[in-house]
């Protein structure tokens, strides 16, 4: 039999029995026994564990003196060496939700102790803390208390003993922004057929992949005077020095780099090659200038049509890379070009 787990429980002044709004400035109080909802949690736990301390703070104190309150709470928690920390439940109370989220985030990130809280999906603290801790779903008000306390007790116990926690919708917590891969009970074709049946019948169904609305990129304003501009070449075509010295992948790449174009008047197939896995690269293999038009740019440079060409070519392999990674690389590349005082870039894909 596993020894009973040690729990520290955090509540606000109201659920801690100190008082209502008039006592919202209450600084940290410590009780070495369950208080308020903690009594229900302790009951549900039985001999699986015990609440070794209840920490109580006023909501205003915690929110208005965040750093001080957080340190005081952390210090107290460390003293009691809990296996897990429970905060709340906070239902739809905003300041209390923030305090619960902040306590859980701090203990998990700073003390590496697992934590769990509970609130309504509409609590303003949810978007702020859902990535940092487990937030079990409650109703809007304390009416859902009897259901949530045993759930909190069991969930906390599982965290403390290191049980694997399953997907959010099956475990009843708010998704933490982590996509996991599991084996479903049924194959995808059957689930898609079930979903179609529900959709045709006007019954509820839930997509497995939420979609986001894509924002189109707005092009920058045209250059006033290209003849004084510094132009950079940026490509996702996967054109690299022959031999692929940086080991770029042909798909799903997450890195970019620069290659010098100094003293080159054009790109030649003996020195450059494409490693992109998403298009027919045979033509580029014969003439790399098709995807990185260095030859034409050098002509324009010598004619004075552009001021000068930026010394470095910026390269990545743009195929099968998630949008978030692309956005990150785009921002890094833009920073690099800003630092080098580049006025415009010619972006080539394939």
């Amino acid at each position: 039999m596993v020894s009973p787990i040690r729990i520290v429980h955090y509540v606000n002044q109201f659920f801690g029995g100190i008082g209502g709004e008039e006592r919202a400035d209450t600084e940290l109080l410590v009780r070495e026994h369950p208080v308020g909802p903690g009594v229900g949690i302790a009951e549900a736990l039985g001999d699986r564990g015990r609440i070794v301390a209840t920490l109580i703070c006023g909501d205003n104190y915690f929110n208005e003196r965040l750093d001080a309150a957080r340190s005081a709470v952390l210090e107290a928690i460390e003293r009691y060496r809990p296996d897990v920390v429970i905060a709340g439940p906070a239902f739809n109370a905003g300041r209390y939700g923030i305090a619960c989220g902040e306590v859980c985030k701090a203990v998990t990130e700073t003390l590496r102790i697992p934590s769990v809280t509970a609130m309504s999906p509409h609590n303003p603290a949810v978007p702020l803390y859902r990535r940092s801790t487990y937030i079990l779903l409650t109703g809007e008000s304390a009416a859902s208390m009897p259901r949530i306390l045993p759930a909190l007790a069991t969930f906390a116990h599982r965290l403390a003993v290191g049980d694997a926690i399953g997907p959010a919708e099956r475990e009843g917590y708010i998704p933490r922004g982590i996509r996991g891969i599991i084996l479903d009970e049924f194959p995808a074709a059957r689930r898609a057929a079930d979903m179609l049946k529900a959709k045709l019948a006007g019954e509820p169904y839930q997509t497995e992949i939420p979609v986001e609305v894509f924002q189109p990129a707005r092009p920058a304003a045209p250059l006033r005077d290209p003849s004084t501009a510094t132009i950079a070449l940026v490509t996702t075509s996967g054109l690299v020095p022959r031999g692929n010295p940086d080991g770029f992948k042909s798909m799903n790449e997450s890195r970019w780099t620069t290659y010098s174009l100094k003293r080159l008047s054009a790109l030649t197939p003996d020195q450059w090659e494409p490693v992109h896995g998403g298009y027919d690269t045979r033509f580029v293999r014969e003439n790399p200038n098709l995807v990185v038009p260095l030859d034409v740019l050098r002509d324009l440079e010598s004619e004075g049509a552009i001021g000068r060409l930026h010394a470095d070519l910026i390269v990545t392999v743009g195929v099968g890379t998630p949008v978030k990674t692309c956005l990150r690389m785009g921002e890094e590349i833009a920073d690099e070009l800003h630092r080098a005082n580049v006025s415009a870039a010619i972006f080539t894909s394939n």
């Binding site: 891969i181 084996l183 898609a192 057929a193 692929n244 770029f248 992948k249």
Partner: protein, 432 residues
């Protein structure tokens, strides 16, 4: 069109003095099969190996996989346009050997990294963490390892390997010709309950050139404008895969003949809906104009069929999702309720959003079939079939690893059918 399918479940495969089916035991005359495959003059040597479920085995350099099928009555033959005349199939009687798969394994000459139009590595592990990526950890696999003679073109190798695989599959299915199948099932789109909703399957395939191609009656679909086909044509092998560019996203011929979406639509035909046909389309067009045309033509055909609902799948990754999403959008705008199956991204740790490279708000009923982005460690195995060494990423040059050892994969792109979107598998993404 009415097709009767006779299924012969195979539970044991062994080499023997002559090729025959004895109950559920398939015996193969190895020499005769090898002689048949060697006929075309492109191969030095052919090995035939039998790999069974539960073995500590890895099959590598995989190209196409085919289920043995043969037409025993009615017009045309199986895999029309390759082995038989180009006659419309999908009627009469066809026999299949269930539970077995003929696999082509060959290493094409290393010509350097060639972008899209090259063969990449394809792996099937029969046990362990790499097993449940394809349907083939559960089938008895008859693997043809083909040693190629030098100095032929990619196109010549591609064509002769395909013919070898199809011929071998048909050869094995011939064992059933004079037998009565333990199980028969009739496939027919006849409507007995007209009040049920009408559902169409939109089957978007990949076809962009050699090694990234799908064939319909023996001809590539590279310039396909959406067209209407009968699901029975696919059961008879009208669609044949020539797609080896990305083994994890491909649809091998075995899956074209055993399409899980078609199975679902047929299983519930006359109960939940009326299955009214398959619209074949292709993705990966290079311009937005062609992508829009493809999507709009799918929706037009679906409207002409008076469809109420549609299931959409697509083959391959990358920009083919644009055709798929525009298709969903066009269908929904035409009032046709649509669900689709998609792989997802999300980064190595699953914290990257959005999960798709492109999407439309109308795509509100998507089913996940997992991701290729997670690293995968394949354990060492006792037996490797298809070769000794393996090249995991051609972009990194002709760098080889011993294939029987433990292999650390950055992604699961080499796992055969690992993120195929026809929905045979249980692997999916979900919020944690």
């Amino acid at each position: 069109m009415r097709l009767e399918m006779g299924t012969f479940p195979v539970t044991e495969v062994a080499f023997g003095p002559r090729t025959r089916l004895d109950g559920s035991r398939l015996e193969i005359d190895r020499d005769e099969l090898i002689a048949l495959v060697l006929e075309n003059g492109f191969f030095h040597r052919v090995r035939v190996d039998i790999v069974s479920p539960g073995e500590s085995a890895r099959i590598i350099h995989l190209l196409d996989t085919i289920e043995p099928r043969i037409k025993v009555e009615g017009p045309g033959g199986t895999f029309p346009g390759f082995l038989d005349a180009v006659e419309t199939v999908g009627e009469g009687r066809t026999h299949r050997l269930a539970g077995v798969a003929v696999m082509e394994s060959a290493e094409l000459p290393w010509r350097g990294e060639k972008g899209l139009l090259m063969v990449r590595e394809g792996i099937v592990d029969m046990t362990g963490p790499g097993a449940e990526y394809s349907p083939f950890w559960q089938t008895i696999n008859i693997v043809l390892t083909l040693e190629l003679k030098p100095n032929f073109s990619d196109e010549e190798y591609d064509r002769t390997i395909r013919l070898a695989g199809l011929k071998a599959a048909q050869y094995l299915a011939q064992t059933t010709t004079d037998q009565t199948a333990p199980r028969y099932r009739t496939y027919d789109l006849k409507i007995s309950r007209p009040e049920l909703p009408r559902v169409v399957y939109v089957h978007q395939i990949q076809s962009q050139g050699t090694f990234s191609q799908t064939f319909f009656y023996g001809k590539p679909l590279d310039d396909l404008i959406p067209t209407l086909v009968h699901p029975n044509e696919l059961l008879d092998g009208a669609l044949v895969s020539g797609n080896s560019a990305y083994q994890s996203l491909k649809t091998p011929t075995w899956l074209h003949c055993n399409n899980p979406v078609i199975e679902q639509l047929y299983d519930r035909h006359g109960r939940d809906w009326n299955f009214i046909g398959v619209i074949l389309s292709r993705g990966h067009f290079y311009g937005i104009h062609e992508k829009e045309r493809s999507a709009n033509q799918v929706a037009k055909l679906a409207r002409m069929l008076n469809a109420d609902g549609a299931m959409v799948t697509w083959e391959g990754g990358g920009n083919s999702i644009i055709e798929a999403m525009l298709t969903i959008q066009a269908l929904e705008r035409a009032g046709i309720k649509t669900t689709a199956i998609s792989y997802e991204l999300g980064g190595v740790d699953g914290t990257g959003t959005p999960l798709l490279l492109y999407s439309v708000p109308e795509a509100d009923a998507l089913v996940s079939c997992g991701t290729y982005e997670r690293p995968l460690r394949l354990p060492a195995v006792q037996r490797v079939v298809g070769g000794r060494t393996i090249r995991l990423d051609p972009a990194k040059g002709d760098h080889r690893l011993p294939a029987h050892q433990s292999l650390q994969l950055d992604t699961s792109l080499q796992m055969y059918c690992g993120t195929n979107q026809l929905g045979f598998g249980r692997r999916r993404g979900i919020d944690f």
